[in-house]
């Protein structure tokens, strides 16, 4: 585990294998919460936060419980249980410990209890047996940052796109989907850079 491999994992997770733009996971919050830059940032950090913490727990449960008992086919179910429970737990704890953090992330936390970006991000990383704990952790952090990057870029584009005199048929979601497609196309240019 040297410095270069950390960089290459982060680059892959954030840019070339971006969770939204390349793996098409988490489209629902990507389109739903990207109207304003502030809410997009909040959602992005909430995903990053939950993804990081749930990767630790899911790795533990997968490798210490599911693998020894040969029931790895239950991974999706176990992960959804862990993530949903964990998000609830985090919400209860930060509501008490840090009201500021709760007012910033609180609205978005219930939204991502069963979010596919989180489940997909954790699932594909943890169940890939080749990865050590540290590699899994870094990949999940990178995936979270990838989501944050993608949603903030889309929010910036949407804020601008709201004010252009577009034809009526293009207003709103059509324009958003086209913007998202163009952003995904731009990110596709990174595919194979660090293969």
């Amino acid at each position: 585990m040297n410095f270069m491999s950390i960089i290459s994992i982060l680059f892959t997770a954030i840019i070339s294998q971006n969770i939204v733009l390349s793996r098409t996971l988490g489209i629902c919050p990507y389109l739903g919460v990207s109207k304003k830059i502030s809410s997009a940032t909040g959602m992005g950090f909430a995903v990053l936060f939950v993804l990081t913490i749930s990767s630790i727990f899911c790795w533990g449960i997968y490798n210490l419980i599911l693998v020894p008992l040969h029931i790895t086919y239950l991974d999706t179910m176990a992960f959804i249980l862990v993530i949903a429970g964990l998000v609830q737990l985090i919400e209860i704890v930060i509501k008490k410990v840090s009201p500021t953090l709760h007012s910033a992330l609180g609205v978005y936390l219930p939204l991502i209890t069963t979010n596919c970006a989180i489940l997909g991000g954790v699932n594909t990383t943890v169940t890939a047996n080749a990865l050590s704990f540290l590699e899994t952790f870094i990949t999940c952090v990178g995936t979270g940052f990838g989501f944050l990057l993608a949603i903030v870029i889309l929010a910036c584009v949407r804020v601008k796109a709201d004010n252009v005199p577009a034809p009526k048929a293009f207003k709103g979601f059509p324009l958003t989907l086209i913007s998202a497609g163009i952003i995904a196309l731009a990110f596709a240019g990174f595919a194979g850079v660090l293969a």
């Binding site: 419980i65 029931i71 239950l74 176990a78 209860i92």
Partner: protein, 265 residues
């Protein structure tokens, strides 16, 4: 037999995980319980609940919280009725409650106000106003591109046939969203009981007004002189009505030569 054992292990592990999580959640729920002031809920139930944002808070829940903390005063909220405001004031230990108001557009120019240029651009009043102050030659004339109509959370504003915005008194809750939106700053509040209002905001004299708009106030002083109760005074070439003296006799409405004193309805 082995198959049965597999099922038992799988189900058992899942149930065990679920039970552990349930207990941890219950435990944390008790450990980290956040005490919420009961007053906040009582105050919130008394508020109008329109979540209009006129008070500057994100919604009625947040406004109730800041009321209880003493960071806001109840007069910041307009949609709430005076009776409920009194109850809130009693609950929180006194304070001003104010009187009921409604929003009104201080302009009746519309098509009667002269256009400076022909606007072919996009959007509403705010966009239009960014091009050399909008299409109207009058600096305080209603642009008529519906910014206020679009933002009103209660559908109380309409664009009337004469091309200026009009507030429907019965629907208006005086939340103030339109007041903050109007780029010409010609929407304001008057008491709900007020019978008449001056539908012009231009502080200019006769000929200057006539060059801009045929419905504008020309500061002729006829209303000031004709009012039997001396409720109207001229300030800066625009009449001001003292609603404590106004009886609603409508003399000024009939006498006004440009018909810019309007019955409030």
């Amino acid at each position: 037999m082995e198959n049965v054992l597999n099922i038992v292990i799988a189900v058992g592990i899942m149930v065990a995980l679920a039970v552990i999580f349930a207990f941890v959640l219950i435990l944390c729920g008790h450990l980290f319980v956040v005490k919420r002031d009961k007053k906040i809920e009582e105050v919130q139930n008394l508020l109008a609940g329109s979540n209009c944002g006129g008070c500057g808070k994100a919604g009625c829940a947040q406004f109730a919280e800041s009321l209880v903390k003493g960071e806001s005063v109840v007069t910041d909220c307009n949609p709430t009725s005076v009776a409920n405001k009194k109850k809130i004031a009693d609950l929180l230990g006194g304070g001003e409650v104010g009187e009921e108001t409604v929003a009104v557009v201080f302009c009746n120019g519309g098509d009667a106000a002269i256009d400076k240029f022909s606007y072919q651009g996009y959007g509403d009043c705010i966009a239009c106003n960014s091009v050399s102050g909008g299409i109207k030659a009058c600096p305080t004339g209603c642009i008529g591109k519906k910014s206020c109509v679009n933002v009103c959370p209660h559908d109380a504003l309409i664009m009337n046939d004469e091309g200026y915005a009009h507030v429907i008194k019965d629907k208006c809750t005086s939340c103030g969203v339109c007041i903050e939106t109007c780029p010409k700053i010609i929407i304001g509040r008057i008491p709900k009981k007020a019978p008449v209002y001056i539908a012009c905001s231009l502080h200019c004299k006769g000929k200057e007004v006539k060059d801009l708009c045929t419905h504008g106030c020309i500061a002729c002083n006829i209303c000031v002189r004709s009012c039997p109760n001396q409720a109207i005074t001229m300030e800066n070439d625009l009449p001001v009505i003292d609603y404590t003296k106004c009886t609603g006799c409508m003399t000024c409405v009939q006498k006004c030569p440009t018909k810019c004193i309007k019955v409030h309805e």
